[in-house]
């Protein structure tokens, strides 16, 4: 007999577990199903969280190695990779447990197994051996099954030579020479991490710019810093084949300078992600997807089948955990009969390269394309006392303004702690702030966010600490 539930959430990543908790808070009898055997999904277990645990550690190492100018002298700095990996695992475990406790405290029932639709309401959950664990008759369903990395026909993941980001994060030995195919967010974050641990890094990016889609000026700063780390970056290039030779890997690539061969030890493929919907049997529920397999949803996160919702990576780009969580809350609230909608205006994003890049709203080019009369205010961190004192002067804050109304359209920050600086600007955009509002708000001295206030002043043509253009 199928067990009736108010809501079944499939996938316990940042979209699914957040949706389940909110739904339970609103009084829905909620079951959360995940096939992975632990909560938190890709983000917590194989993505954002472990990569940050490693990246921040590598940043510390890198900073110490370059602190001679500040008078830091030491000998025998060594990274114990095994211990580092244990530490990564411990961070994940603590967060796993935290989510478990939150589910329990809110009355969310957790079931580990693989869910599939029998029809639009009935869902069967099976274990690894395909034995049926339970069948549900769900009044509402939220699909939050996420995405997984793409590979290439010529570079299939093998867990040994050709790695996905998940496997790269678990490497207990930094490769001597790593080649990254795809110079986007994931590829550069991980590539930078390894480079700071002493790996020789080569990046092959198909498009003409690393971090495609990011403000070109910001991408340029990251490219410069990669070069300082000794990385070899090839844009407009395509890795075509590989072979093993004398225990190493020879990767052939087409570059603007002609064909090249790179002899490396490991290849990391980070060329985007595709929806994880295998095994769900969406067709049994009649849920429609686009040509790439992403589930189509409306502003209430409903699919074409009214009682079935979808949130997070499985509904398409951008693949951001915080987007998934907000969508999960919207879906849960709508499922509980509340008036909610995905109506945000600011979807910030943070990239943990060196320096970090964080953006929200429109960049210059996008604003111009939308027909705004664009004015920009830009302030380099090198002009800010705090950045100098901390020895991190790379980068800038750029404020994009509608010249007609002085409305804040977007902000691009590249530089120290950019990921932490961007949230203020997300609030500003959601509140419909004008650039004047930001310029008039006192920012404490000496701090990095002063650069935001200064960039706002610059957009208005009256900056104090840089020469106005």
């Amino acid at each position: 007999m199928a067990r009736p539930v108010d809501l079944l959430v499939i996938g316990a990543g940042p979209g699914g577990y957040v949706a389940a908790i909110r739904a339970a808070q609103l009084g829905l009898k909620t079951v959360l199903v995940d096939k992975d055997g632990r909560l938190g999904g890709e983000c917590l277990n194989y993505g954002c969280i472990p990569s940050k645990a490693l990246i921040f550690t590598a940043n510390l190492v890198h900073k110490l190695r370059h602190a001679g100018e500040m008078g830091i002298e030491y000998s025998g700095l060594r990274v114990n990779m095994e211990k580092l990996q244990k530490w990564r695992a411990s961070v994940i475990e603590r967060l796993n447990r935290g989510i478990e406790q939150l589910c329990q405290a809110n009355g969310v029932e957790v079931l580990f197994g693989e869910a599939s639709f029998l029809d639009p309401r009935r869902i069967r959950v099976v274990d690894h051996d395909k034995a049926v664990l339970e069948e549900f008759d769900a009044a509402k369903v939220i699909v939050a099954t996420g995405s997984r990395p793409n590979d290439l026909p010529a570079f299939r993941f093998d867990g040994r030579r050709i790695l996905s980001s998940k496997e790269a994060l678990e490497l207990a030995v930094a490769p001597a020479h790593l080649l990254v195919i795809g110079g986007g967010v994931t590829g550069l974050e991980l590539g930078t991490y390894f480079a700071k641990l002493g790996t020789q890094l080569t990046v092959v990016e198909f498009l003409a710019q690393i971090l495609p889609g990011v403000d070109p000026e910001a991408a340029r700063i990251v490219a410069r810093s990669l070069k300082k780390l000794g990385a070899d970056v090839h844009v407009g290039s395509q890795a075509t084949t590989w072979k093993e030779a004398e225990g190493r890997i020879v990767v052939a690539a087409e570059t603007p300078d002609g064909p090249r061969e790179f002899v490396v030890d490991t290849v990391l493929v980070t060329i985007g992600r595709r929806p994880s919907t295998d095994g769900l049997n969406l067709a049994n529920a009649g849920v429609g997807t686009d040509e790439k397999g992403f589930i189509r949803v409306d502003r209430e996160m409903r699919t074409n089948v009214r009682h079935i919702f979808a949130v997070g990576d499985v509904v398409g780009q951008p693949f951001l955990a915080h987007k998934a969580s907000k969508e999960g809350i919207v879906a849960a609230e709508v499922a509980a009969g509340r008036a909610a909608a995905a109506d945000w205006r600011a979807l910030p994003s943070a990239i943990f390269t060196d320096p970090e890049v964080a953006t929200v709203g429109l960049d210059e080019a996008a604003a111009a394309q939308k027909g705004f009369e664009v004015r920009v205010g830009k302030v380099p961190f090198a002009a800010m006392g705090r950045a100098l004192a901390a020895g991190e002067t790379e980068g800038f804050v750029k404020v994009v303004m509608d010249a007609k109304t002085a409305r804040l359209l977007g902000v691009q920050i590249v530089g120290p702690d950019a990921s932490d600086l961007i949230s203020e600007m997300a609030v500003a955009i959601e509140m419909g702030a004008s650039v004047e509002d930001i310029a008039l708000t006192i920012h404490p001295h000496p701090t990095l966010p002063e650069a935001i206030m200064e960039a706002a002043e610059a957009a208005l043509g009256r900056a104090i600490h840089v020469v106005n253009r």
């Binding site: 889609g213 951001l320 909610a340 979807l347 953006t359 709203g361």
Partner: protein, 411 residues
């Protein structure tokens, strides 16, 4: 490059206009200076000339739609440009969510028309609007730069709840009755009339005072002057005399040449005389204004009245022509009738209604004589004008009309 044309500023205090009629359609060729759209503001209907020569690529507002000044209404391309395959978003649609720069494979979107009027409201206000089923695009924000506040949403929410068919909510389509009937949309000038009349009758404390005037002398005088005026190309009706008499009477009773500022609770007495003449047009009643009526001679008044009447009939009134009135005259007798009670042209405080002049038996001394008689019905806003003031004004007006020579000695 296709060019957009935005609804221009068409007069003082005009923030929006209603598109009443498109004179071109998508795909039509269009020439510079060609009139291409009819727009009605809360004051006047105007036809706008095209600033460009080319082809109409897109029309961005529907007939009947209210468009804010500065919003694009039409896209004109080069001659020979063809229509784009996909329709443009309607003018008040929210721009698409900002593209996320980190998305590695995100394609750049094709150029779209400039975003227009994305509503300015905080996330909490947007949620409140959803909960109250209030469409933010239809809410006028009272905060800085038009920001919509919680109070704005609450007040629309209350009104919608009380009056389900109000402008802010989409009314449920009426069920067909099965009987022969036609539903005529109330828009354009009709809507403005409806709003203004409702405002006046629910705001002003109307009272109406009726008087009878012996027009015999004025009829003789007008008969004498008519021929002379005609030689100068001027059609002399009774109206210029009445305007002149009204101005003279207003000078005796200045508090009637005024508007009431409800917000500040002040009577704004005008030291200039802009006299509105209520005029029937096919679209409905409008009130062109004779500016500085006190500074015009009789023929000058007649010529101006004729110009305004022509312009009203042919939709060529300028915003200037229908703004700034201080007092209104309305003719009520064209078809007959004895008396009508005029509605004040709010926020003015008084209106004079004139009726037909007809021969009636009148007692003069001990005799019954035939005289040219006319009724005057004057409505006043009793909040500002007490009965005896209104009566004194009408008696003064009566004196000027019965002894028109006074109109020419006192000036």
């Amino acid at each position: 490059m296709p060019k957009e044309f935005k609804l221009p500023d068409i007069g003082e205090g005009v923030h929006e206009g209603e598109i009443t009629k498109w004179l071109v359609k998508e795909g039509d060729p269009i020439k510079e200076e060609q009139l291409f759209v009819e727009v009605m503001t809360d004051k006047v209907t105007v036809q706008l000339p095209s600033p460009y020569t080319g082809t109409v690529l897109r029309i961005l507002a529907k007939e009947g739609e209210l468009v804010r000044v500065g919003s694009p209404i039409i896209v004109v391309g080069e001659e020979g440009d063809t229509l784009p395959a996909s329709p443009a978003p309607p003018s008040r649609q929210e721009p698409a969510a900002p593209q996320e720069p980190t998305a590695p494979e995100a394609p750049r979107t094709a150029p779209t028309p400039p975003p227009t009027g994305e509503v300015l409201a905080t996330p909490a206000v947007r949620r409140l609007a959803r909960e109250l089923s209030v469409d933010l695009a239809a809410v006028r924000g009272t905060g800085p730069r038009g920001r919509i506040t919680e109070d704005d949403v609450h007040s629309v929410g209350r009104r919608s709840a009380a009056m389900p068919a109000s402008q802010e909510v989409v009314p449920v389509p009426p069920a067909p009755t099965g009987r022969p009937e036609e539903r005529i949309p109330i828009h354009g000038i009709r809507r403005r009339i409806a709003e203004k009349m409702h405002k006046s009758t629910t705001t002003a404390a109307h009272f109406t005072y009726v008087e009878e005037v012996d027009m015999t002398h004025l009829v003789h005088l007008r008969d004498k002057l008519k021929g002379r005026a005609e030689k100068k190309g001027v059609r002399l009706t009774y109206l210029p005399f009445i305007v002149r008499a009204v101005v003279a009477a207003l000078k005796d009773h200045p508090t009637l040449n005024a508007t009431l500022d409800d917000e500040r609770q002040e009577l704004v007495v005008k030291r200039y005389y802009h006299i509105g003449i209520a005029t029937a047009t096919d679209a409905g009643l409008i009130v062109p204004v004779i500016h500085d009526a006190d500074r015009r001679d009789l023929n000058g008044l007649a010529a101006e009245i004729e110009r305004l009447a022509d312009a009203a009939r042919t939709n060529r009134l300028t915003p200037q022509d229908i703004s700034g009135g201080t007092f209104t005259i309305t003719s009520l007798g064209a078809l007959g009738g004895i008396l009508a009670t005029p509605i004040i042209n709010w926020p003015e405080v008084a209106i004079v209604g004139i009726h037909r002049i007809e021969k009636r038996p009148v007692v003069h001394g001990e005799q019954v004589v035939v005289r040219d008689m006319m009724y005057l019905t004057c409505s006043f806003d009793h909040r500002a004008i007490d009965g005896h003031i209104g009566a004194a004004f009408v008696e003064s007006l009566k004196e000027f009309l019965e002894h028109p020579a006074l109109l020419f000695v006192e000036a």
